[in-house]
């Protein structure tokens, strides 16, 4: 599903440049649930941003679902993001003047799905994350866990190939974190490919594979026995 080879990325900081990713080789198959771990500064967020086409690599190949991702202009990148990727952020990033349903429907709007179908789908996904009765509420009226579940519904609404979660539980208490992870595991059970960036050991354990990054290189890539989050809920 994801295939990257010899990925390099450095940032210019005034006169000296900071080499963040030093040749990453990495691939993800369909249906995997991968945790990317590492301390801050290890390059895990940069990697996720490049995978999410929010940032571009200096060199290296990136093939997503058989499509080489290169020479992207903004319009094309936006199309690919919309078609291939769903984002789940640490700070939820819901649009605060839109209701839960409108937020979920947003990626479908960019796909030019008609209004009625959009609403049906949005409601459907909200139901899947258990928030159907909150559809008309604004994000400010929802709790942190509910917001993240709306964000997950939004990420899935466009039926992307890959879900990218950047510290999805970073702003949540542990009970809510496990609820969110439970949801992510269920989504994965349905066959969706998911990448989770985290620095929390217990969250990583709930994935099927853990990739450790340190100073811009992969130091460890292992399959793990998945801990079901439902045990904690």
């Amino acid at each position: 599903m994801i295939e990257i080879k010899n990925l390099h990325k450095s940032y210019k900081m005034g006169s000296n440049s900071l080499h963040v990713l030093k040749g990453i080789d990495f691939s993800v198959a369909e249906g995997e649930l991968v945790a990317i771990m590492g301390s801050s500064g290890s390059g895990k967020s940069t990697l996720l941003n490049i995978l999410g086409m929010l940032d571009t690599a200096d060199s290296g190949d990136y093939v997503l679902d058989g499509v080489p991702i290169e020479n992207l202009n903004e319009t094309k990148a936006a199309q690919y993001r919309n078609k291939f990727l769903g984002f789940i952020f640490q700070s939820f990033n819901l649009i605060n003047y839109k209701s839960a349903m409108e937020n979920v429907a947003l990626p479908l709007y960019y796909q030019k799905v008609n209004r009625k179908e959009r609403q049906e789908k949005a409601l459907n996904y909200l139901e899947r994350v258990g928030l159907k009765q909150w559809a008309t509420h604004l994000p400010s009226e929802l709790s942190g866990g509910q917001k993240q579940r709306v964000a997950i519904a939004r990420a899935m609404a466009a039926e992307p190939k890959v879900l990218l979660a950047d510290e999805p539980t970073g702003a949540l208490d542990s009970k809510t974190s496990y609820e969110v992870m439970d949801l992510i595991q269920k989504i994965n059970d349905d066959g969706n490919t998911i990448l989770v960036v985290t620095h929390e050991e217990d969250i990583a354990e709930m994935c099927k594979r853990i990739v450790h990054l340190k100073d811009g290189v992969i130091v460890e890539d292992k399959k793990v026995e998945q801990v079901r989050a439902s045990a904690y809920v």
Binding site: N49, L54, E74, T75, A78, Y97, L106, P107, Y110, A158
Partner: protein, 418 residues
């Protein structure tokens, strides 16, 4: 364009901060309001002055003889000369593009004290010997009877058309005027009509003239074939100013006047005066547009500023939208549409309020009677269309910089802002 979600969003964004939106809108509102009012005021002035010109054939000049100032062909300077009746035909033959030539003789006025008598009453009035065409060159309303016609000219009838003020001084109220006689310099004339000039140019004596047939006048007052004065009107589309020199040349030739003697023939070029006034209106309109558009410009800068702030405030939101797959063009369009929408709505309000104010002014003018040189201020539909085009263009301009700055930030940086 007609996308419900886009419009929903525009309304959501603009109503999110009512006070700010209204303040911003006010700048544009004020600009277009001033533009409309200035244009209407200019139009009112123009209408007023045009009304003063009335329905005079403005493509007209009046000319008369003066003293010759240059010796020529053995003739001395400082001599007098007169136009002759034959000159009229000569001019008609030699100068194309003329519509009317009305020769005139006159007597009386302030020098002729008591020149007109009727029974026990008398008065001093200006007496004209005129051709029928003069009524098209110096319009007057015939209030009763008729004006001079060509039968009068041919048969040299002793008939006269008098002004309302003449009638007032010579007749009692209710007396029959038509068919009665007055004595002008000892000669009886029958009254065949009365006139009233609606446009007097501030001339208090405008209603105190007596018109008689040119031929009658020449005969009974011994003017022989002399002509004192001529009104010459050119056909529409040929400015009299352009061909008046041809007329003068013909006359100079016929009266042995030096071709460069510019003071021998006096004239008043109504068309030139009128063109000057028309140019003044052009200048007024230009000033109205200039001032109005500049005021509008400051309003537009206001809109642009606020849009920049809105974009800044929404940086993160825009980042999220882009992460979800909204294209840069869609974002640009959204911001441009917000800007145009705001500009047009406030501009329309300005147009409506301006129109209401003009309506009010017209109402007051109607209630209080006419004011000098100011009639019916108005803006026509063309101006409103122009204003709308200005608004759409300015909305685009106002949104352009903010829209560009919205997509200039990379999505990843936009997402990081708080």
């Amino acid at each position: 364009m007609f996308n419900r979600d886009r419009w929903n969003e525009i309304l959501q964004v603009l109503t999110a901060n009512w006070f700010r939106t209204v303040l911003t809108a006010f700048g544009v509102f004020w600009g277009i309001f001033i533009l409309i009012i200035l244009l209407a005021a200019g139009k009112g002035l123009e209408n007023g002055i045009r009304a003063d010109f009335g329905n005079i054939a403005t493509n007209t000049m009046f000319m008369w003889t003066q003293n010759v100032t240059k010796a020529y062909k053995g003739l001395p300077k400082d001599r007098n000369f007169n136009f002759k009746v034959d000159d009229v035909d000569a001019i008609k033959r030699s100068v194309p593009g003329l519509r009317y030539i009305s020769p005139r003789n006159q007597s009386g006025g302030f020098q002729g004290a008591g020149n007109v008598i009727r029974g026990m009453k008398s008065g001093s009035f200006q007496i004209y010997g005129d051709y029928p065409e003069i009524i098209r060159q110096q319009p007057m309303d015939i209030t009763s009877g008729r004006f001079i016609n060509y039968s009068d000219i041919r048969e040299k009838r002793k008939v006269a058309v008098i002004g309302t003020d003449v009638r007032k001084s010579l007749y009692d109220l209710g007396e029959t005027v038509l068919g009665s006689y007055i004595k002008v310099n000892g000669v009886n004339f029958m009254i065949i009509g009365t006139y009233h000039k609606s446009n007097t140019d501030g001339n208090a004596d405008a209603q105190k003239d007596i018109y008689t047939p040119f031929t009658t006048f020449s005969q009974v007052f011994n003017r022989a074939d002399n002509v004192g004065w001529m009104a010459i009107t050119a056909v529409d589309g040929t400015p009299i100013t352009g061909i008046k020199e041809d007329v003068f040349s013909v006359l100079k030739e016929r009266h042995s006047i030096h071709p460069e003697d510019i003071r021998a023939i006096g004239h008043f070029d109504l068309f030139e005066q009128f063109s000057r006034v028309v140019r003044l209106f052009g200048a007024l309109e230009f000033i109205a547009y200039f001032v109005g558009v500049l005021v509008l410009l400051s309003g537009i800068i206001g809109v642009s500023n606020i849009m920049l702030i809105v974009v800044k405030e929404r940086t993160k939101e825009i980042g999220i939208r882009r992460a979800l797959g909204e294209g840069p063009w869609s974002i640009k369009k959204q911001i441009l549409m917000e800007s145009i929408f705001l500009t047009i709505i406030s501009g329309m309000a300005g147009i409506v309020f301006g129109a209401l104010l003009i309506y009010g002014i017209n109402y007051i003018l109607e209630m209080n009677g006419p004011v000098d040189m100011f009639v019916n201020p108005n803006v026509n539909l063309g101006v409103v269309v122009v204003a709308l085009i200005i608004l759409i263009v300015s909305g685009l301009l106002a949104g352009f910089i903010p829209a560009n700055s919205a997509i200039k930030v990379r999505p990843i940086e936009a997402l990081r802002t708080e």
